[in-house]
């Protein structure tokens, strides 16, 4: 049986082989030395029909406790915000879904204009001058920023605050080796970064990377952090949550040189960690050091407006070993999801969303306090999540709560010393007050 993904009939094959002038398909592979040929069938399970594939994968999906099946307060970088139906509608349009990088702009005005609109949205949100078309995720854009900082400052050390997402720190460290960069961490004190420690570490650093709100959900003294970095000649780099930027100040307005982060919360499903988009925006002066695609406005030969990939001399396909990055395939479709999401929200919606998260967060803190759970950093204002002590090993608490249908948050013990009994609890607009009540109830049952 001809495979549904192939179009060649037997007679097609015959005609084509005749045109090529070979007797068989095998002959097409005559350049392959016998020794490197497989010479047997691949040892894989038999081909499945679409129906069987569907049933098999639906069964696998059915073994996952996703947020439609379990009441989840997990966050820690990936959030269960509501993704409106229009996002999928647009992303599933074949003309966008099945196109590739718009090397040929006349074929790709749809994607190019969308990226231009995305870049505008990111610049508006972050208060920056230039945004690329996307990076892989919230970790890789931080790596990118290190590369920018290294080359802009000529310095070889990067400071990352301890209150920055541990995965970001880990990934930065992995790649720093290749870049010849040293990574140092600046500790937090009571949930926010110690300014003096930052100041000390920043002295000969290329950059200071911090997160706002930080990994504990606490608001950092971001303007002051940036000031200390700037004073030391290090680039202040803000890792931010786009969803927060209706209520929290734009990094561009408090002195950051670059703003970046994980875009998932804004328009992507959690999807067990990806694909999502990382966003990366900077002040104008860094435009030629930016990694990845950038779309620019131009005109066609008739003088009409159009969009193209621009400043490509930064990129690997032109600059090769001297490129600002090796990235080529990126996360355009997911970034487009972000654009659709922000178009859906609008400035009003974004602010309201931030306020709902703040209110629900306050409610959750209050209910947990009433249930006897102490906030770890009680005095700090937080956004969307907060750390709470559950009085016994948090991983055990998670396991016990899950038996009652609640995933109460992320256990911090693995990433922060002395926090074995701490849960990071995230509350998005999808968590209703009733669900928060249920969290308090279940935690009261399983912890103590």
């Amino acid at each position: 049986m001809t495979h549904p993904f192939l179009a060649l009939t037997d007679s097609d094959r015959r005609e084509m082989l005749a045109t090529i002038g070979v007797a068989s398909v095998d002959e097409l592979f005559r350049d392959l030395p016998t020794a490197v040929r497989l010479g047997r069938e691949l040892e894989l399970e038999p081909a499945l029909s679409e129906q069987e594939t569907f049933e098999h994968l639906a069964a696998l999906a059915g073994q996952n406790a996703d947020a439609s099946r379990e009441l989840s307060f997990l966050g820690a970088g990936v959030y269960d915000h509501y993704v409106p139906a229009v996002v999928d509608t647009i992303l599933q349009r074949g003309e966008l879904l099945t196109a590739y990088t718009p090397y040929q702009p006349e074929m790709s005005q749809g994607v190019l204009q969308a990226i231009f609109e995305y870049q505008t949205a990111i610049c508006e949100l972050t208060g920056m001058d230039v945004s690329n078309a996307s990076g892989y995720d919230g970790t890789s854009v931080a790596v990118d920023a290190c590369y920018v900082a290294k080359h802009s400052t000529g310095r070889t050390k990067v400071v990352v605050t301890e209150a920055t997402n541990p995965q970001v720190r880990q990934v930065v460290k992995t790649f720093a080796a290749g870049f010849g960069l040293e990574i140092v961490e600046a500790p937090h004190r009571d949930g926010v970064t110690d300014l003096d420690e930052v100041e000390r570490a920043a002295a000969d650093a290329a950059a200071v990377i911090f997160q706002q709100p930080n990994f504990f959900g606490c608001l950092e003294p971001a303007p002051e952090l940036c000031a200390r970095a700037n004073d030391a000649g290090a680039l202040p780099i803000a890792h931010v949550d786009l969803v927060s930027l209706g209520v929290l100040e734009a990094p561009g307005n408090y002195g950051a040189a670059l703003a970046l982060g994980e875009g998932q919360a804004a328009g992507n499903f959690p999807s067990f960690g990806g694909p999502h988009y990382g966003f990366l925006a900077a002040r104008e002066q860094f435009i030629r050091r930016m990694p990845g695609r950038i779309v620019g406005e131009t005109v066609d030969t008739a003088g009409d407006r159009g969009y193209v990939l621009t400043l490509q001399t930064r990129e690997q396909h032109i600059r090769r070993e001297k490129a600002t990055s090796n990235i080529t395939t990126n996360q355009t479709l997911l970034a487009l999801g972000g654009l659709v999401y922000f178009t859906w929200l609008g400035p009003q919606g974004l602010r309201e969303l931030g306020e709902i998260c703040l209110s629900l967060g306050a409610y959750a803190k209050q209910r947990l306090a009433e249930a006897g759970f102490e906030q770890v950093f009680a005095d700090r204002p937080t956004f969307k999540e907060f750390a709470v002590r559950v009085g016994r090993n948090a991983r055990e608490v998670v396991a016990a709560a899950r038996e009652r249908g609640v995933h109460p948050g992320h256990a911090l013990g693995r990433d922060y010393e002395g926090m074995d009994d701490v849960l990071l609890v995230a509350v998005t607009e999808r968590r209703t007050p009733d669900e928060i009540d249920r969290l308090a109830e279940v935690l009261a049952e399983v912890a103590r």
């Binding site: 084509m16 696998l60 996703d66 994607v111 992995t174 009409d304």
Partner: protein, 489 residues
């Protein structure tokens, strides 16, 4: 066409958000941290949003629109069932920090995908973590680094050999991994020049990075000799898997001698390219490199359950958040299950299609290396340029008028006026014929009325765009100034 910002009107909105009763007021945010000016996001109703992006889509060309023989990109059909599967709540709404016990389906899927990739590449262990091919490259090179460091050869082995046909990501990755580049030439048959190579590989060499078949679409006939040279010098071999679509089930990188491979899931295993991404760049390695793979590893436990193993003391660390782009894995896994051991037919058809188009076009365009090709091939418009002044770019633009996406142009760099054509296995003979007819017609037009090529495209939503001006003016976001009157396209 207007930008969405140009359609915006204060007071409109597409979203309504939930209102919960009786909540405490949103706690105050310290003034210096509070948003001062709202971002100027678009203000449009939901209907306008749908119409705007629908219209944008109609100004774009995907494989669903038509033939897209963009060399090196493997623009094959993206089965629609994959989208349905990736959207299942059990996948889409799964939090990556879900406790192992609540993530067995996701972990099993990843583990099974790893097993399949190991079999297809002929290697021992797989990490799915890298986000795309280039991140796979960088990861692979960091593994090489870690391997030699562990052997005490870290300072000695600083060089990575790359042929002049290599994709730009290869040299860029070499730099980013902190290695130095050694270039090696291509010989008259399109293989690596083994004589050139021999003199360049020694005890300072860490690795070779090779795409095989190469970016010329040619299988390196001396691969066995190359293998002897590198392994003989104690160096490793890295396989850029971008062209794996040529050899699935026929020849495996592991059997060719490669020690590290990245796989572009979005090419070989059919991930819709999304206007530039997402992709997936898993790496497969020989056992000697396994200890260095990124954490966490996805493992099958003794009890038959699946888990994440963070306890890998020699790991290079993490290269991406969580365990990689899971939604991409869902699609590629489904794709692979629908092929199973028949995968060989996929590669055979890809190679047959490419050779057919090559056979039909080689009289009309220059063919730098006159061999059978693999899944793609490179022509040159050199003669056309010399005789009629029309370039590969002009051919590309004119193809648009015939309803085809152009091939990759000006790559690989060693072929002047290169046209790199990759039909993929999913195209019908009729489509290939129509494309060949167009290519031949264009060659005739170049001779008879070259201005039709020079002025192309004529039938797209825009005419040829001025890229130089864009680079000079650097307008990379909407200006919002009332001065900047919307220009109607």
């Amino acid at each position: 066409m207007k930008l969405i910002y140009e359609k915006s009107q204060a007071g409109r909105r597409a979203s309504a958000l939930p209102r919960y009763e009786n909540l405490p007021a949103a706690p105050g945010i310290p003034a210096e941290l509070r948003r001062s000016e709202p971002p100027r996001l678009p203000e449009v109703p939901e209907f306008e949003l749908v119409r705007h992006f629908t219209e944008l889509s109609t100004r774009n060309f995907g494989v669903d629109t038509g033939f897209y023989p963009l060399g090196s990109c493997t623009m094959k059909y993206n089965p629609r069932i994959n989208e349905r599967l990736a959207a299942l709540p059990g996948f889409a709404r799964m939090h990556p920090l879900q406790e192992e016990g609540g993530a067995q389906g996701a972990l099993e899927l990843m583990w099974r995908l790893q097993e399949i990739l190991a079999e297809v590449t002929g290697l021992d262990a797989v990490s799915l973590q890298p986000a795309a091919g280039s991140q796979g490259e960088l990861t692979g090179l960091l593994l090489v680094r870690a391997y030699f460091a562990a052997r005490g050869e870290g300072d000695q082995r600083r060089k990575v050999v790359i042929p002049d046909t290599a994709h730009g990501t290869n040299p860029a990755s070499v730099t980013m991994a902190g290695f130095e580049l050694t270039h090696v030439q291509t010989d008259a048959r399109g293989n690596i020049d083994v004589d050139d190579l021999r003199g360049k590989v020694d005890e300072q060499t860490a690795a070779l990075m090779l795409t095989n078949p190469s970016t010329l679409g040619l299988f390196d006939e001396n691969i066995e000799e190359i293998e002897r040279i590198f392994h003989g010098a104690g160096a490793l071999m890295y396989y850029d898997g971008a062209n794996l679509n040529a050899v699935c089930g026929i020849s495996r990188p592991g059997d060719m001698g490669f020690d590290v491979v990245h796989i572009n899931l979005h090419k070989t295993f059919s991930q819709p390219h999304g206007g530039g991404g997402p992709g997936g760049g898993p790496i497969a390695v020989r056992d000697i490199l396994e200890p260095f793979l990124p954490v966490p590893a996805v493992v099958k436990r003794e009890d038959g359950g699946f888990g994440l193993d963070f306890d890998r003391p020699e790991t290079i660390g993490k290269v991406r958040g969580f365990t990689g782009p899971f939604g991409v894995f869902v699609r590629s896994y489904a794709f692979l299950r629908m092929w199973g051991p028949r995968l060989r037919e996929m590669s055979e058809a890809a190679v047959l299609n490419a050779n057919y188009v090559l056979a039909r076009l080689k009289e009309t365009y220059d063919l730098p290396f006159d061999r059978l090709c693999m899944h793609e091939f490179v022509l040159s418009a050199r003669t056309m340029k010399r005789e009629h002044g029309c370039t590969a770019l002009d051919v590309a633009k004119r193809l648009m008028d015939y309803g085809f996406h152009p091939p990759t142009v000006y790559f690989p760099l060693i072929v002047p006026e290169a046209l790199m054509i990759e039909p993929t296995e999913t195209e019908a003979k009729e489509t290939l014929d129509a494309f060949c007819d167009a290519m031949i017609a264009i060659a005739r037009e170049a001779a008879e009325k070259p201005e039709v090529l020079k002025d192309a495209p004529h039938r797209r939503p825009v005419r040829r765009l001025d890229e130089v001006r864009a680079a000079k003016n650097q307008i990379v976001k909407f200006g919002f100034e009332p001065a900047q009157e919307p220009i109607e396209a």
